[in-house]
C-alpha cells in the first residue's frame, strides 16, 4: 500500500513538473560569536551554501545528526532567523524582503511541528486556547468562527470526541495526544507547507506510527508540502519522496528516497545507512562500521570537504583542500563528493 503510494508519487513528479513552492538558493546562516560585547570571535557556520527546491504537495526529508545545522535551516525557513546570505523564496517572493504585514501572511502559510510535544504547548493554557491563539493573531475575530475551526481541526487530527479535549491542559494528555494538538495548531491557519522537526522522536515506538500516518494523511488530503527533519533514516521511506542529507552545515547528498536507499553515493550517507538497524537478530553477531571521530565544530570546520577527517576513502590533496562541487550521478540524484567526479551523468556538473 505504502509502496504503491510512493511510486505513484514518484511517477507523477516525473510526468508533471509540479510548481516550486519553496526555492532555497545558496543559503548561508552564520551566527556571530560575540566576546565581551564588542569583539567577535568568529562565526558558527550553521548552514553553508545550501540550495534545494520543494514542490507543491511534495514531502521531503532532511536527514542529519545533531549539530549538522538542520535546526538553523529550519529556523531560517520559518522566518525566525534572517539568512546571512542567499535567498529563500516562497512562490518567488524573497522572504527576507517581506514587510511586516507580508511576513505575517507568510507565517500563516507555514506550519511548524516541533519535536517535544509537551514543551511546544504552553503549560498554562487549555487545548481550546492553544488552538485559538494562531487564529487570534491571524485576525479572525469572530469567536464562533474560531471555535468552529478549532473543532474541525481537532476532528481531523482525531482528537475526538472534541468536547473531551477542549478544556484539558497539556499535562493531562498523553504524548501522542499532545503531538496531535501541536499538529492541529500547525494546521489551523490552513498553511501550504509544514516544517516538522523530528515530530516523532520523543514519542513511544507504537505511537510514532500513528502520528506519521496522521501526517501522511493530512499531507495527502490537503496537498501540503512537508519538510520532515529527522535523524532516523528508517522512517524516511514512509514519509518522504526525496531525501537530503546534511552534514556539518552542508548538503552532501540529495536524491529520491528509493534512489538513495539503493544507490547512496556519499560515504557519510552510507555510514548512516549502515548505522541504522532493522530488527534482525543477526545484528548482534556483527560489529558495525562507524566512521571514527565526531562531527566537526561549526566554528572552525575543516577546509574542503567537511567529512574528510572521518572518511576512509578520502583523496589526499583534493578532499582536504577543495570543496567538492555538486555532481549529478543519476536523474535527480546529486552528490557533493570528489569520489564521484568521474561518474557524472550526461546532465553534467551542476555549478
Amino acid at each position: 500500500m505504502f509502496t504503491e503510494l510512493v511510486t505513484k508519487k514518484e511517477e507523477r513528479s516525473e510526468k508533471h513538473q509540479r510548481e516550486v513552492l519553496l526555492a532555497i538558493k545558496n543559503l548561508h546562516v552564520w551566527f556571530e560569536l560575540r566576546r565581551w560585547g564588542f569583539s567577535h570571535a568568529g562565526y558558527v557556520r550553521a548552514v553553508d551554501d545550501v540550495s534545494f527546491d520543494v514542490h507543491k504537495g511534495e514531502a521531503i526529508a532532511v536527514v542529519g545528526e545533531s549539530g549538522c545545522g538542520k535546526s538553523s535551516l529550519l529556523k531560517a525557513i520559518l522566518g525566525l532567523h534572517k539568512p546571512t546570505s542567499g535567498t529563500i523564496e516562497y512562490y518567488d517572493k524573497n522572504i527576507s524582503e517581506l514587510n511586516t504585514k507580508e511576513l505575517k501572511w507568510y507565517r500563516s502559510q507555514v506550519g511548524y511541528v516541533q519535536q517535544d510535544p509537551f514543551g511546544a504547548l504552553p503549560p498554562f493554557m487549555q487545548v481550546r486556547r492553544i488552538l485559538e491563539e494562531p487564529l487570534i493573531i491571524g485576525g479572525i475575530s469572530s469567536v464562533s468562527e474560531r471555535l468552529d475551526r478549532i473543532c474541525r481541526m481537532m476532528e481531523e487530527v482525531k482528537l475526538s470526541p472534541v468536547n473531551d479535549f477542549l478544556d484539558k491542559f497539556p499535562h493531562m494528555l498523553s504524548g501522542g495526544q499532545q503531538q496531535r494538538v501541536v499538529i492541529a495548531r500547525a494546521m489551523i491557519l490552513e498553511p501550504k507547507f509544514i516544517v516538522a522537526d523530528e515530530p516523532v522522536s520523543m514519542l513511544d515506538a507504537s505511537v510514532r506510527v500513528e502520528i506519521l500516518k496522521l501526517l501522511r494523511g493530512l499531507q495527502e488530503k490537503h496537498n501540503l508540502s512537508v519538510i520532515y527533519i529527522t535523524h532516523d533514516l528508517s522512517t524516511v521511506s514512509y514519509f518522504s519522496e526525496r531525501i537530503f542529507v546534511m552534514y556539518a552545515g552542508r548538503m552532501v547528498e540529495k536524491a529520491r528516497v528509493q534512489s538513495l536507499l539503493r544507490n547512496a553515493g556519499h560515504p557519510y550517507t552510507n555510514a548512516l545507512l549502515a548505522g541504522t538497524s532493522d530488527p534482525d537478530a543477526n545484528n548482534a553477531k556483527t560489529f558495525k562500521e562507524v566512521p571514527p571521530g565526531e562531527p566537526p565544530s561549526l566554528v572552525k570546520p575543516p577546509e574542503g570537504c567537511r567529512f574528510f577527517p572521518r572518511c576512509s576513502q578520502m583523496i589526499k590533496g583534493e578532499c582536504d583542500v577543495n570543496i567538492p562541487p555538486e555532481i549529478e550521478i543519476a536523474p535527480a540524484h546529486q552528490i557533493s563528493c570528489w569520489l564521484h567526479k568521474q561518474s557524472q551523468s550526461s546532465a553534467g556538473i551542476i555549478p
Binding site: M1, E65, S206, T276, D278, N283, F287
Partner: protein
C-alpha cells in the same frame, strides 16, 4: 539440563504508594539470564521496565508499598540480605546500572576520572591511585582516550559521556550490567558506536547485560534473548532469533509491526488505545482491551505457557 543461570528472578513484585493509589509497577515478573548473555526488555513508557531495573538492584524510593519475590544471583537468593549487605556485596559489585540519561547525570564539578574511580573506592576499598588506574583501564575498554581522565563532563560530547557512564558501571568488574535506555538521546552513528562498545565488552569481558529500551530496532544489536513487558507483567520471553522473525504474543506482534524498517517497505500497523494504568490494572489479560485476537478465555488472567523454551502469557498458546 539447564546450566546455572547468572540471574533468576521469581515472582518479583514492586508496588509504589502514590497520591492516586498504589502503582503496581512490577507485578509478578519471572525471567532468567544466562552467563555472558544479553536480554533486552522491551516495552513502551509506563509498562514498568525501569521499575524492574530498580527492583532487581533494590534501588527503592521511599514510597514502596510492597517489594517481594526472589532474585537469585549465581544461585543465591539476594532478597533476604539486609540493605547494608546488599549495598556492600551486590550493588555495583555483582551487578551495576547505567541509568537513563546517565550522560546528563554526571557530576559537573568532578572530573570524569574521579567519577569513574569513585565506585572502586567505595565498593572495593582501593585507594585513589589504584582506583584511577582501574578507571584508566575502563576508559580503554569503552574506547575513550585516557587523556580525558582529567576533563570535566561538559568538555565531552554526548556519546563520550555515555561511554564514561558505562565505564563507571564497569569499574568494579560486575558480572551483570543493567542499561536503561542507553542510547535514546543519541544520534545514529553515536548509537552504533555505543553498541559496538557493548558488543566488545560482552565478548572480551564475558559480561551479561539487561538492556531496557523501547527502541526495538537497535535492541536487536545486542540481544541474545528478548523479554516483552506490558502493564507491569512480562508477557513474552524467548531467544532473539525466533522473536525477531516471529513473535508470539499479540502485543509483541503488534510492536514488531509498528517498527519502521529501512531495508524493506512494509505496511506499518499501530495499536489503537492506550496501555492500562498501573494503578488499577484490569482483571484478566491486561492486553485484552486492545487485542484483535481476544476471545472468551481472556477475561481470566492467563498463566505463562512454555512453547519450545519460549514463554508466553497468552491463552492462544494453551497447548
Amino acid at each position: 539440563m539447564t546450566e546455572e543461570k547468572l540471574l533468576r528472578v521469581e515472582n518479583l513484585i514492586l508496588h509504589f504508594r502514590t497520591g492516586s493509589g498504589v502503582v503496581q509497577a512490577v507485578d509478578g515478573v519471572n525471567f532468567d539470564l544466562g552467563m555472558n548473555r544479553a536480554v533486552v526488555v522491551l516495552g513502551e513508557s509506563g509498562c514498568g521496565k525501569s521499575s524492574l531495573a530498580k527492583a532487581v538492584l533494590r534501588l527503592l524510593p521511599r514510597n514502596v508499598a510492597s517489594y517481594t519475590g526472589r532474585v537469585f544471583l549465581d544461585g543465591k537468593d539476594v532478597m533476604p540480605l539486609t540493605d547494608d549487605e546488599f549495598r556492600q556485596n551486590i550493588r555495583w559489585v555483582a551487578m551495576s546500572l547505567v541509568p537513563q540519561a546517565a550522560m546528563n547525570a554526571l557530576n559537573p564539578v568532578l572530573t570524569v576520572g574521579e567519577q569513574v574511580s569513585e565506585p572502586a573506592m567505595v565498593h572495593l576499598g582501593v585507594n585513589k591511585k589504584e582506583a584511577l588506574e582501574m578507571a584508566r583501564k575502563m576508559f580503554h575498554h569503552v574506547g575513550v582516550s585516557a587523556d580525558f581522565l582529567e576533563r570535566y563532563p561538559f568538555e565531552l560530547s554526548g556519546g563520550m559521556r555515555q561511554r564514561v557512564a558505562i565505564a563507571m558501571s564497569l569499574v568494579t568488574s560486575p558480572d551483570l550490567i543493567i542499561l536503561d535506555e542507553p542510547t535514546s538521546a543519541l544520534d545514529v552513528l553515536t548509537q552504533a558506536n555505543i553498541f559496538n562498545v557493548l558488543k566488545r565488552l560482552k565478548r572480551e569481558l564475558g559480561l551479561s547485560f539487561i538492556l531496557i529500551t523501547h527502541d526495538i530496532a537497535t535492541s536487536s544489536e545486542l540481544a541474545d534473548d528478548v523479554a516483552v513487558m506490558y502493564a507491569g507483567q512480562m508477557v513474552e520471553m524467548g531467544d532473539a532469533e525466533r522473536f525477531f522473525s516471529g513473535p508470539l504474543h499479540p502485543y509483541s506482534k503488534k510492536l514488531m509491526a509498528s517498527v519502521p524498517r529501512l531495508r524493506e517497505t512494509k505496511e506499518l500497523e499501530f495499536i489503537t488505545g492506550q496501555p492500562p494504568s498501573l494503578v488499577r490494572p484490569p482483571s484478566g489479560c491486561r492486553f485484552a482491551a486492545r487485542c484483535t485476537m481476544r476471545f472468551e478465555k481472556c477475561i481470566q488472567e492467563p498463566p505463562v505457557f512454555e512453547k519450545e523454551e519460549r514463554r508466553v502469557m497468552c491463552w492462544l498458546y494453551q497447548s
